[in-house]
Symmetry: D3
Subunit: 319 residues, 6 copies
């Protein structure tokens, strides 16, 4: 067959290919000039996204495809408004015989989610203070299932399958290492803050099991994950009868971890572990974004302006 | 007797007077030049504050006076650093025979607190939605006793005895009037938001029964009255099984009522009643501060820069 | 006839309809691919706007249509860049026999303009101070004719026919209600400030009698309605020999009503009525924008980011 | 006589001197420790200011001295809070026989005011456009008398006798020179803008004939010199029937000359001469402040933080 | 021949013309609808830019044209998205016989570069301090060749051929004139600061000999022309053994000339000549931008919002 | 003897003690009331500072004491403006027999400076890239002597003897630990950036061997340690012929390490190690300030507003 198969990142204008893609979005539209219907797709695989068009739409398939479908497509790469676009010639849903699974077509954390959860539970074991330990255990237990696949954001840093789990685990490792430099750090508080700080993103956003977020939830919009986090700890502490000071310190860490009011924190860190939590969160987000920014660059190359990095351009050293 | 009695606002340099004052602060200090001990006071009455010094301190009274004491003092008004100061010749605690009560020497809301509470309960009656009604009723019931005397702030607007009660009542009147202009306003939500928005100031600050706040509480410092308010509504709604949407809307009103992130609101109002709550809160605070700013001015006079009003100077028209 | 008639808000992709529209904008253009001329329209009715294309343009009608024309069009609704678009098959100007009038095809204030003016004059009657009364009466008299149809803005809040009149009247009602809560408010000053504050928008913008603004005027660009308002009051007070203090207070209210320097106010309010004027203006603008934001939402729905509301998304409660 | 005479800038702790000073401020106060009255002065001469105390105050002179008095004082220079202070032994008003005049004891512009006015009128002659010429002539004529002594500010740049005149003249020279580099500049507009831009400071502040400003006027507080300037040009243009465009451009230059909204300009410059006016104003203010900042420094020295220069420290080169 | 020739600024929709253009950008693209290749150009001449399309692309010319080529094109002016566009019918590279040179098709400074350099060297001669003179001479000598054609920016002010040379010369003229008003200005420092302040833009940006900048260099991105300028002066002063203070003052002028930290200056001007350098730089940039903004306006016309002028609209007076 | 000896932190009003102090500042002043001379001291020891007064000053000791002297003083602790003050009865310089050394009376880093330097050199050994290694070695070698005692700041974090050394070492430890979590980090670059980033503080500030900074140097004021650092690396790389890219990356790390323009960084980090350098710097500064803030608090206590921590109050948990 003349059609080769490529990853989205490798597609070039003019390529004629057979590929498996995930449908990340699909809309039925009508052309401007002659009222013909067409399907407007966003396809994705592990390496990126590309928009696609199917110009001839038999009526019976107008609503046949939906988001999250794994499909096999044949077509040509064209250019539109300086971006690659995929002109679909044929498209069908992948079947069992194709031997492909959706998980292979979405970007995921580089570690296995069950391993990550086990490692996080290892850190949980190291929280010696029993009051704090119980709160964190219960919070983690309740969210465990969704944590397996949730991303850490709709877009920006860690917006990948199991991204939230990966973010939390890496932060725990960081917190552990930093505490070795500063022995006065209370790792019970720090580990607890790290595990709890973003947990309510699971209620703030609505994610499919592929880690794709379509929308914020209503409570996400009206209250935000920080206030949801405070409420969640409150509820758990009520049940566990957690002493007042510990409850307040855990809530304060959640409340202050974005640091700046305009990023959603109404108070700034007032004890050392809350301060460290913020910096650890920042470092892990930035390492993720810097790594992504240079992933496709040649050594010595410089990126476009990266929105999530204050529109900076990032350089990849040659050595 | 040669000594007259005056209100603090009327004292002038050179006056020699007998007055009753509340002690708002008292410290034992030592003079710089000759190591003599003296008592350093801040005295107050309904009309203002004045600092005072007692230069000869018999050892047995070094710790005799304390904040909140109502005292009778005799002395002279001097000037120090361009401010009036009170040089104390004699001082004693007021006794029953003096026929004075502390409440008459602190600034209070212009309405009787029992009347104000009754009026607020009248507005509560008008909340027709039974879910919302129950939440507000329980919240109000729990705070009722302290609400009788709490100020609305440590300083700035409504920092007077029963100031919080007065602020809430006036806001309810405003909300009622504004709703007549815009019939689409849901007064159930608006009245609820007004009653609930600042209730947790009672846990944020530590006030004496005279409405004088010495300190913020630890939870006030670590969490702030806005987050405390969200938690409080959560706890009550858990008990009452309030439907999810109503719970969220009540919490959103509390969360967004300061409007700007740098004033403590992590989200901005997302429905009309939350938006109105913010403006009503602002108007009532500003009317209070403008009224205070011109209280002692002659018509045609202009105030000094007022800190709480963005350092503006306020003008009192002649007509 | 197979073609039905619909309001713009109700049009759906694929609809084939006969409608009356107002032409809000029309340009003769040439297509990119084959140099053919076409007419590019923005059509409007009471419910919204839609862009339209006429692809075959006989030479004699190239300049036949103009903004403000009421036309009858037949055509199909298509989709372009995710927005509805109207492909025109036939178009002609409406004639008397059609029995339609332009006023029915532009969005207007919900009250009759003659009624609104009469009500505003009622508030004018309540200004007891004769100096202030005369200034406001003359200012209103001079602008009365244009006030009948002017919008309050080119876009954003109250950008509708007679929107300025409606904005002023609603603010007067608000001012009246708020003054009942604070008896110290001088309603002479407040009502005067409300009626005068935006009057010079009539000279700042150039509006057709349908309330559609194409452009700011030169003096609008160079000086702005606030400075024009100060000058206008100056001119009137010169003629009426208004006492100096009253003149200054009226001018100060105009000057400070946007409150923030970056929104055009070089001074901040320095007396109570100027402060209230600002808040009343804000409330009425916000109520308008919130109402608009939820107008087409289902209960429980949430809007897109609204530009004029700091890019907030607005929620419509289900109850 | 053992007492020498010195200028304020040259006084050192321990000096015992006979000097003539201007009284810039005087208050009758009472000492903190023993209720004794004393007079608290701020004295000034051409070289600076020093606070002074007269500890023994015969009753008949308690109100004898007033601001602006030229006095002869004998006393000692002491140090208080790291600043020099003048302990007065003797003080009397200067009489004719002393042969001193107040003007010699206040800081004044370095040029004679009559010469400066004559030079400004020379620039006025160069405004060829008769409409603009007439407006500027009338505005200048009306303010001429006060312009002879007014400072340009209460404090900060050009806060000296005849400082406003000096500021305007230097700006005209600058405008003239800059226009030689850019021949397209319309010097009629630029010279007019320079002469008019600050004229209403004369109504904004209340200055004695010595160029000392005690207070802003009410219209200065409520409207500010920029709005006063716009009104003033309006009034003059009404009388002269100035064509509309020229009136607007003159008013726009006044309105925009502070450039930033937070410094009082509601619009930014919209034509070249308005833009240049702003920069010329800035340059002249900055040259004045830099010159003052290094006046008393040794070469190679660095100043304290200068408030009017964004708290910068200014360096004086050695060459 | 039926085809006339026009400048880009004069082209109107429907024109059919033969023109010489410079190619400012060229990309091979594929159409969206039918996968056909086309060439997408940006053409330029002294009067502006226009995008162009060549729809039929013989395979042998797909990569034949490149940026900076001077070409002869025949085609039609169409309209796309409200902008003119050029539909190319024929295109070929210009040859010697055409008698045209690239320099005539890019916008250049209005003075001859050799004349400008000579004038700058004249100012250099006037730097009397031999230490400073030597530094500036060496810096100028090293950059002379590139200075002949470099623009002062990639876009915004002075983004034209020889724009940097022109900017520096005009600033020197300004500095000279301003110094006549303030005799205390050290023109040695000021002239040196002006010549040095932007020289390292030559290493910050990569410009063709036509003055067209495609990219910032790596050191331009990582360090910026201000830090490069400080380093450059350091290197030269090392070689010349320049006294320490002079070296620091020259470096301080470069470092502080953008004034605001957010525009790249880590320190603010700390002596008069550094302060003046900033204002002179601003004035010359603004005069350039204002002049450009009104160049194509009719008298009495007003521009669109100009990005480089804080989005202001600029007015062109009628007189 | 009746006089005990105490550390400054332990002094209470009324204490009569014999102590050794370091003189941190001394001025000869004259009293306000009676022109008597006195010596005004700031004394310090390892635990804090206290101001002191010697009221009777024999003429021969007026200039006898100087900053940095270690003295023995006898006197009484009084209170002035709510701060403790030391009334000196006797004072003499400490002599050898006293058996005390200045180093014991200034606050120093908690590790021995020779140990710290050795550890830093250990990290230096781990920089494998020989170009980078050589640059860092030379820079460190040149500053080694002063690094032994320099503080990292005039005030704020690490403003203690050998504070700079301590700050650098702790950052290296942090960088080492963080790199273990992110294996992609180039520790050659990161360690180099950490060692170099603040080295030029040694030329920015003028410190005594006790680590007390009186003043910023002229080059510190005019250029700042960031620009000095860039120049320093430039000079060393010139000598060592360091490849261009490595030179630029080292300079970029210095230039960007304060991150925000308003804190002195004209560019933001453009590669991962520069980004990490900033966060590591922040963490170490914050840990220092938090530790200091709670040092004297009881568990459960809350500090005053800490200036260097954005005026936050810091809480010390009870567990």
């Amino acid at each position: 067959m003349e059609f080769s198969s490529k990853k989205i990142r490798d597609l070039a204008v003019g390529d004629r290919v057979d590929c498996y893609f995930i449908i990340k979005r699909v809309d039925l539209k009508t052309t401007n000039s002659n009222d013909k219907k067409y399907l407007d797709f966003i396809f994705g695989d592990k390496t990126g996204e590309i928009s696609g068009k199917l110009w001839e739409v038999p009526q019976d398939i107008e609503t046949y495809f939906t988001e999250g479908d794994l499909v096999k497509v044949r077509g040509t790469v064209t250019s539109y408004m300086n971006n690659n676009q995929f002109k679909v010639d044929r498209i069908r849903k992948a079947s069992e015989e194709d031997g492909v699974i959706p998980e292979d077509f979405v970007e995921s954390a580089p570690l296995k989610n069950t391993d990550m959860l086990r490692d996080i539970e290892g850190y949980l074991q190291r929280i010696a203070d029993q009051d704090i330990h119980q709160v964190v255990r219960m919070a983690l237990e309740e969210k465990k299932d969704k944590l397996m696949f949730y991303p850490a954001a709709k877009r920006n840093h860690h917006a990948i399958r199991s991204g939230l789990l990966y973010h939390v685990l890496t932060m725990l490792k960081l917190g552990d290492q930093i505490s070795k430099v500063y022995p006065a750090v209370n790792t019970d508080l720090l580990f607890a803050g790290i595990i709890l700080h973003d947990l309510e993103k699971i209620n703030e956003m609505d994610s499919s099991e592929l880690g794709i977020v379509k929308e914020y939830t209503l409570e996400g919009n009206l209250l935000g994950h920080i206030s949801l986090g405070v409420k969640n700890v409150d509820r758990i502490c009520d049940r566990l009868n957690t002493p007042e000071e510990k409850r307040m310190l855990l809530q304060h860490m959640i409340l202050s971890h974005h640091y700046e009011p305009e990023y959603g924190s109404p108070v700034k860190p007032m004890f050392l572990e809350a301060e460290l939590l913020h910096h650890i969160d920042m470092i892990d987000a930035r390492v993720f974004d810097f790594t992504l920014a240079v992933r496709d660059l040649e050594p010595g190359g410089i990126s476009e302006n990266i929105f999530s990095l204050d529109r900076r351009r990032i350089y990849k050293p040659t050595f």
